[in-house]
């Protein structure tokens, strides 16, 4: 693979996403044609309710597409078994973890489940991967803590470590900075960027931190109600894709400042 013909890890063809309610299709978005390159940091942008989570759930096979096909390494996603997929794609979800007494180490170790035997025995290689994930996310000092004792920022790092331990080409995170302050948000973005550079993994996040995403990520997927645009961050900024993200009367995208500004006239 060379730069002219980049390695595509994930692409979609005429994908339509949404929900099946009884016999009716409730389409959230359609005509989605994405192609995601290996080793990129990609942010999925869009206003609340536009279908970011639905898209993420569909490309990670948590729910089925209404139409079209998703290819993971050129193989139809529906042809992957759960177990096979678990070694290619890992997730960090927004849902709260159920109450339990899991320690940070145990939580990260659960990421090794696709590789462990029937009683979940940790092999030497599993141990190495767990240690590696814990080290990369800088959570060594939390290893023996229970996960419910952690702050939101720490918990997010632990969940990222769990996904890393799963040792997949792609990691998808649904709003990983939803409950975090500016400082911790930046730290998570920075961590993810470092992981992309150092491990050559493909990381896709959905986020509302647009200003920060524009500074850090390699590529953007912008979801508008009628059109989904994707490409390198600079190209998207130069196009008008971002200006249609929010109602123009309230928020304007300023290409020079590379951020949204509030319309003071209102």
């Amino acid at each position: 693979m060379n730069s002219i013909n980049p390695h595509i890890v994930l692409n979609t063809e005429d994908l339509a996403i949404g929900y099946q309610q009884k016999k009716e299709h409730k389409t959230v978005a359609d005509n989605i044609n994405l192609s995601i390159q290996k080793g990129k940091f990609i942010a999925l942008l869009g206003k609340n309710g536009i279908g970011k989570s639905t898209l993420i759930r569909t490309i990670s096979k948590v729910q089925n597409p209404l139409k079209g096909t998703i290819f993971l390494n050129k193989k139809d996603l529906s042809n992957y078994t759960n177990k096979e997929l678990a070694t290619k794609l890992s997730l960090v979800l927004t849902e709260r973890l159920p109450e339990s007494q899991l320690t940070v180490f145990e939580l990260v170790a659960l990421g090794r489940q696709p590789y462990t035997n029937w009683v979940d025995k940790i092999s030497k290689k599993d141990q190495e991967k767990i240690d590696w994930a814990i080290q990369l996310t800088e959570i060594e000092h939390l290893k023996n803590n229970r996960f419910y004792e952690l702050s939101d920022g720490q918990l997010q790092r632990v969940l990222i470590a769990r996904a890393l331990a799963q040792d997949t080409e792609i990691i998808i995170l649904d709003e990983p900075t939803a409950h975090l302050d500016m400082h911790h948000t930046y730290k998570i973005f920075n961590l993810l960027k470092r992981l992309v550079v150092n491990t050559k993994k493909t990381i896709i996040i959905s986020t509302h931190q647009i200003n920060l995403a524009l500074e850090i990520v390699d590529e953007l997927i912008v979801m508008n109600s009628d059109l989904i645009v994707s490409g390198e961050t600079q190209k998207i900024i130069d196009s008008d894709a971002l200006s249609t993200l929010f109602p123009k009367e309230i928020l304007n995208f300023n290409k020079k400042l590379r951020q949204f500004t509030i319309n003071k006239d209102n």
């Binding site: 973890l97 159920p98 007494q101 899991l102 659960l110 489940q113 009683v119 979940d120």
Partner: protein, 343 residues
Amino acid sequence: MNFKKTYTKQFILLSVLLVLLSILNISSGSVSIPLDEILTIIFGGGSAKDSWETIILNFRVPKAITAILVGSGLSISGLLMQTLFRNPLAGPFVLGISSGASLGVALLILGSSAFGGYFLTVSFSSWGIAIAASAGSFLVLSAVIIAAQKVRNTMSILIIGLMFGSFTGAVISVLSYFSEAQQIQQYVFWSFGSLGNLTWNEITIFFSIYLVGMCGVFTIIKPLNSFLLGENYAKSLGINVKQSRIIILIITSLLTGVITAFSGPIAFIGLAVPHIAKLIFTTSNHKILIPATAITGAIILLICDIIAQVPTSEFTLPINAITSLLGAPVVIWLLIRKKKIYV
């Protein structure tokens, strides 16, 4: 997950406790038999009195074995339900599964008189009761699961479980109304719960079904652990969530069904023991929790049974009352204590 070092101490301690309590359990009863006699009888030696040998080998040892099977089996069922529903208050009783088993048995015992003695021959065989109880518990559990898929909220699922409980209770009342006194008495005695009265033959049947369930439990350690993160994460870790859920439900209904069949509905063990095991072992890893819960359950039911004998007296109280007397305060204490931890 690797923890061997940390938990050996607790396991050794509990195992020693289990053996001591088994002996204490066998030695307690209305006829007092010296301890050295008991030990010689258990280990195959003869005894000075034939009656002692009969009491020990045909009554007390089967009862202690039943206590161990019932205690461990119900506790494991409770643990599985708590993990599956991700709710600390789930258990075979709260979810109406035991009520389902009761309904099955009630239909058999009371129904036989209500419908004119049609099933009379079946109702007195232990197989008949076992099958009726298992079928009943499986039926209610399936209904709870179907409901669970429609409503995601776990609180609603528990309420639905309780509703099934009252519903089956009402059906049993209606059946009782149309039944004869003798059948009602038979059913009421069954519902008091009893660990005794099982012949070696029945214990063999009981143990075989118990063993199938227990072997099944050890095959689902991995899905159980993945459920600690919620179903979506479990799926993303390559677990077949639907299949695992069905296996968990089958094992639970098998264990709860066979236990309720042979010893009547025994409350609270399934709900309280997993919490006690979690407190002692402070882990959520099922590789540790499954054996820990089983041993703790066996120990607690042996204790309950010793109390039910009312030592140095002629009385034997219904075991179902003792487990609730002991279990209810434990659950209350846990809830109060838990508030302190999590808030």
